[in-house]
């Protein structure tokens, strides 16, 4: 099976004094559904940052979608990021844009046609139950609603890899289920690889999933 991510001896750090991830080895199959757990501050978000190239490896090698991220050039990184769907832990919505415009962002960057963009955004808004809020600005929404906007944006351009950082962290059971359904749907129907950082793996997840745990700077698979 194709590997969408291959990490060899991967070390991540913000400064020389403290290594967050230390010489980790793992690989992720294309089309798989992966959960990442770990204590707060263990380095889950840090690992995701490295996967979308915001934090470059200080040691080892990290290949995502065929692109070596250690010392990657900006143009190559942009090319990779166009095909990723990221849900950030702090959402990272553009405050001065409406919900609708926020969801459009990856479609605009990928050069989709206007008509396709609009119909895609409409359908996503329906899926995350925010149709009636489309003209509002992020700060006019609750945290949970903002999180759903971030989810819709991550799905908009049918990415090859979805990276979601605690995407149900702020949601009630009903909305959480909505998010899991969307992620599962993308994984099953579009064969999108999904990597989710979460504290709570839902019991009812029917998908065949992999589970990695981060502890003491190491990443190991839980079987």
């Amino acid at each position: 099976m194709d590997k969408v991510i291959i990490a060899e001896n991967l070390s991540l750090a913000y400064s020389k004094d403290e290594t967050i991830i230390n010489k980790a080895n793992f690989s992720i199959d294309s089309g798989s559904f992966v959960f990442i757990t770990g204590a707060s501050g263990s380095g889950k978000s840090t690992l995701l940052k490295s996967l979308y190239g915001a934090l470059k490896p200080v040691e080892g090698s990290l290949v995502v979608g065929g692109v070596e991220l250690r010392g990657v050039a900006n143009s190559k990184l942009n090319f990779l990021r166009k095909h990723l769907g990221i849900v950030f832990q702090d959402y990272k919505l553009v405050k001065e844009w409406t919900i609708e415009k926020n969801i459009m962002l990856p479609l605009i960057i990928n050069g989709y046609e206007k008509s396709i963009t609009q119909s895609q955004v409409d359908s996503l808004l329906k899926h995350v139950r925010l149709k009636h809020q489309s003209g509002k600005y992020p700060l006019e929404l609750s945290g949970g609603e903002q999180q759903r906007v971030a989810m819709a944006r991550a799905l908009a351009h049918n990415p090859i890899l979805i990276l979601a950082d605690e995407p149900t962290g702020n949601l009630d059971d009903y909305s959480s289920q909505l998010i899991w359904n969307l992620l599962e749907g993308a994984n099953e129907q579009l064969k999108t690889t999904v990597i989710v950082v979460t504290h709570h793996i839902p019991e009812a997840m029917k998908v065949e999933y992999k589970h990695y745990h981060i502890e003491f700077g190491d990443i190991h698979e839980v079987v």
């Binding site: 913000y14 940052k49 979308y52 915001a54 934090l55 143009s75 990184l77 942009n78 090319f79 990779l80 990021r81 166009k82 095909h83 990723l84 990221i86 950030f88 990272k92 919505l93 553009v94 405050k95 001065e96 844009w97 962002l105 990856p106 605009i108 960057i109």
Partner: protein
Amino acid sequence: MKSFKNHISLVIALVSILFSLQIFTIVDRAINAYKENLAKNYSLVVVSQKTFQSKEMLNKINQLAAIEELSPDSVIKKLNTGISKKNIQLLKLTLPKFYKFKLKIYPTPAELQKIKKQLLKYPYITKVETFSNTHDTTYKLLLLFKNVISVLAVSILLVTILLIFKELRIWQFKHNERMNIMGLFGAPTWLRSAVLFRLSIVDALIAFGISFVIFSYFASSSWVSEQFANIGISVVVFDKIYDSLIMLGVSVIVSILLASFIVLGHKEEV
């Protein structure tokens, strides 16, 4: 309201730059017009022992605009008490010639001295009256006025630039977030900064529009032209083509420069 706030700070800064620029231009024009006016009313009086060729003199000293011989009749009339016609003729011959020298420019005191020296080199020219006291005072006043206005315009410019640099941090902060997010989704630099450049060009156009309207109003205001007429000059307050183009150019260039600062200063946060 939201978009109004986004625009206002840069627009105000740009308008004040355009203002100080145009005011400076107007003052410069007014002073030049006034100098021309002074040159018209100003002349040297030259005393010569003999008649000379005006043409030759005009060719030699190129600041000269015209030479006019002053008739001695008025002087003689005053003496005209019981002098015979024959004696008057004699007197006329022995009296030196008086000439009025018109200049093309209103000279600086130094230029004036130079012209005087040049004239005195001719052996038959015995005296050159420059009325230098009055001339120097007028000239210094003019210079003072120009300097005061220049200092004022430069101060406005400096204060504006300081304000802009203070605002730049706020803009940088405000735009960084959006550019950062766009970058995380793979937007190339041009797309990330497109909004910023569009915004700054729109602001430049708004600032230009405001300045255009205000100066067009000044230019057509009878009060303004009266002020200039009072000191005997007419000044182009606002050339709708030439000045407009310069204003537009300055406005657009300054705001694009600012936008470029922000784009170049942008760094992805981790």
